[in-house]
Symmetry: C2
Subunit: 228 residues, 2 copies
């Protein structure tokens, strides 16, 4: 069975990516991060998603990015609500070098597991404008990774960063996931959930989800009392 690594957050995008990997026959090694995020409820959700979708192994890595701060997700800065998503500025929810750090750990994990395939749920149509979600960034990471490890330099294989959602709209991602049987009631995307894990409905991430479900003629199941 083909092995692959997945960056798993417990959100809509990574859950859909996991379903896509399973449909393509991968044995999935998932990795999540406790990085000091205010929405740490996502780790509990990630564990459930990993279990529901039968990943082979799920590692949760502890890294305290609060020691740097500099983001509304890891510092005492308010998460923007009802922000105009057409605004092209990178919002304060950006976390410095987050995907670079996450993908670096995924690279180590891949080498130890013995695979060269790393999946990430990044997408650039309906997103917050984070630089480390763009295709040109992911390509540069892949190029660097192929010079970085013993396994690649010795010619055992070539690292491939897979981003199967990269050009999909949120609506298309949800449509794809529903076809594959993803239960989105069991995911969480909110940047600023209540202590009980209830999504706020107003941060960028909630706004994008709600619109994505609306475009599919549905309401977001996280607001249906199922998981909130």
């Amino acid at each position: 069975m083909k092995k692959a690594i997945l960056l798993l957050s417990g959100g809509l995008d990574s859950a859909t990516t996991l379903a896509i990997m399973k449909s393509r026959g991968y044995e999935v090694y998932a990795i999540s991060f406790s990085y000091g995020q205010r929405h740490s409820i996502e780790l509990e959700v990630a564990k459930n998603v990993a279990k529901d979708l039968s990943v082979k192994e799920h590692k949760i890595i502890d890294i305290n990015m609060r020691s740097f701060g500099g983001s509304a997700l890891t510092d005492d800065i308010d998460v923007p609500k009802d922000r105009d998503m057409e605004d092209e500025q990178i919002p304060i929810t950006y976390v410095p070098a987050r995907n670079t750090i996450f993908l670096s750990f995924a690279l180590a994990y891949a080498e130890v597991v013995g695979t060269f395939d790393i999946f990430i749920g990044a997408n650039v149509l309906d997103y917050s404008g984070y630089p480390d979600c763009r295709p040109e960034y992911l390509q540069a990471f892949e190029d660097m990774a192929n010079l970085a490890t013993k396994a690649t330099v010795e010619g055992q294989g070539k690292i491939k960063i897979h981003a199967p959602l990269i050009e999909l709209s949120k609506s298309e991602i949800i449509k794809k996931g529903l076809e594959l049987g993803v239960d989105y009631a069991n995911t969480i995307s909110c940047y600023d959930p209540s202590p009980e894990g209830k999504s706020c409905g107003h941060c960028d991430s909630c706004q994008l989800r709600i619109k994505g479900f609306a475009d599919n003629g549905m309401s977001d199941p996280v607001f249906g009392g199922v998981s909130g």
Copy 2:
């Protein structure tokens, strides 16, 4: 004052790099990692080096790379002793994606501090053959970094990975450091020190150091009873 980030291990190379940075007028923000290394004594040494050479700030980041294993430095695998250093194979002391992970954190730190300069003590003449110490790797990391962060994408500056020792032999590195007043008795490079912090004298890292001092007509001060 110009700010810059330094990956600081407490070893000979990073201590020399720090002295070079100070001589060039940088205000230094040092970052070290508690990554599950068997030679964790290096963190205590790193703290002393940081203090002696008056860094502005020193962050120690906790990341448990033992949860991956796969290296003699982070797993229950013997560190090779008196290895033939002409052997071109990458040795078992290689830690998967270590510099990629370290540099990723340095990139986050740089963005929060507001600098674009990152220093690393990597060198490719007298070293263990690790792929993530080579100039082509460091260049690829720099290229990736410039697509990764808010600060670079918004055009506030361009990340530069500085490796001032990259083409120096161990002997030349030591000569440079002695000129700049580095007290090498207060550094440690050993991969497998005793619990009291005594260097083994036989791992790759000890072998390279001993030869470097010998080439300068000296004996390595860590074996002089000063720090052992």
